[in-house]
Subunit: 141 residues, 2 copies
Amino acid sequence: MGRGGGEGALGAWFDMCQHRHMSNAKALPLLEPAAEPCCPPLNERPLTADEAERTAVMFKALGDPVRLRLFSAVASHDGGEACVCDISDVGVSQPTVSHHLKKLKEAGLLSSERRGTWVYYRVEPAVLAAMGQLLTKAATA
Amino acid sequence: MGRGGGEGALGAWFDMCQHRHMSNAKALPLLEPAAEPCCPPLNERPLTADEAERTAVMFKALGDPVRLRLFSAVASHDGGEACVCDISDVGVSQPTVSHHLKKLKEAGLLSSERRGTWVYYRVEPAVLAAMGQLLTKAATA
DNA sequence: CACCTGTATCGACGGACGTCAACATAGACA
DNA sequence: TGTCTATGTTGACGTCCGTCGATACAGGTG
């Protein structure tokens, strides 16, 4: 629970990425901390067991249709933020929605905040970008 | 089994993407068919049940640590292609390796070809790029 | 305070998944 | 043909996971 946001596996994964990134990042200052490349692309070298273990958590979180719809619903909402009541129309019961949102939060893809009666979830742009470059860099390299 | 490559869920997913892409693609010719953007980014609009169902298959395929290591091993090999014997050192038995490679193939992420004694797996760059843009476009938009 | 609404947690059930040993198949070679 | 190596398939087992109803918690309203 060191940094703000999720309290799940993202912390370790992101820290791992930052650590690796730091070894060859010397000239770039601290602007745009969310859009920077991060972590070895999948085709740079075979992932270690640790890297795979942590990275798989995030892919697994998006590997369920209901979670993918929930995540997309949050991400496509204004400001990348949505109340649970706005996105819970995905064909499963309310406890199941809550369960999946918790999973996405544990994977570090979403963070939540209670404001009055309602709870709002929003996406973590940095992680999204990191995951994307994991794939796009692999595709274009 | 219409197109070359995998025979799994990729076919439907890619076709779905192409179909959608065709509706707003009028001015671009057929160069770089593999690097083109494809499918709505996750933050463009909430995914439908069908879209989520098909897309989740690919994320789920990368949601297992062993499969992620196998995929990374293939992708990082020369030419994006590797013999099974080169990548099967991931700490599980040979049948399990074969099982996971089959899953990756069914998800459309890998294709396989037998050449003599050995079987070679290689990545599908188009799908990789499509998945990446699903995330990077969502991250930067 | 009581009551209502929105969200999270608990406990249980059924199905999917990762794993293995045993066996089957494909090709190379003698 | 037989044998050896490389890979895929089968069947079984244990565990994880998605789902639900019931219940608990939080906050607003009266």
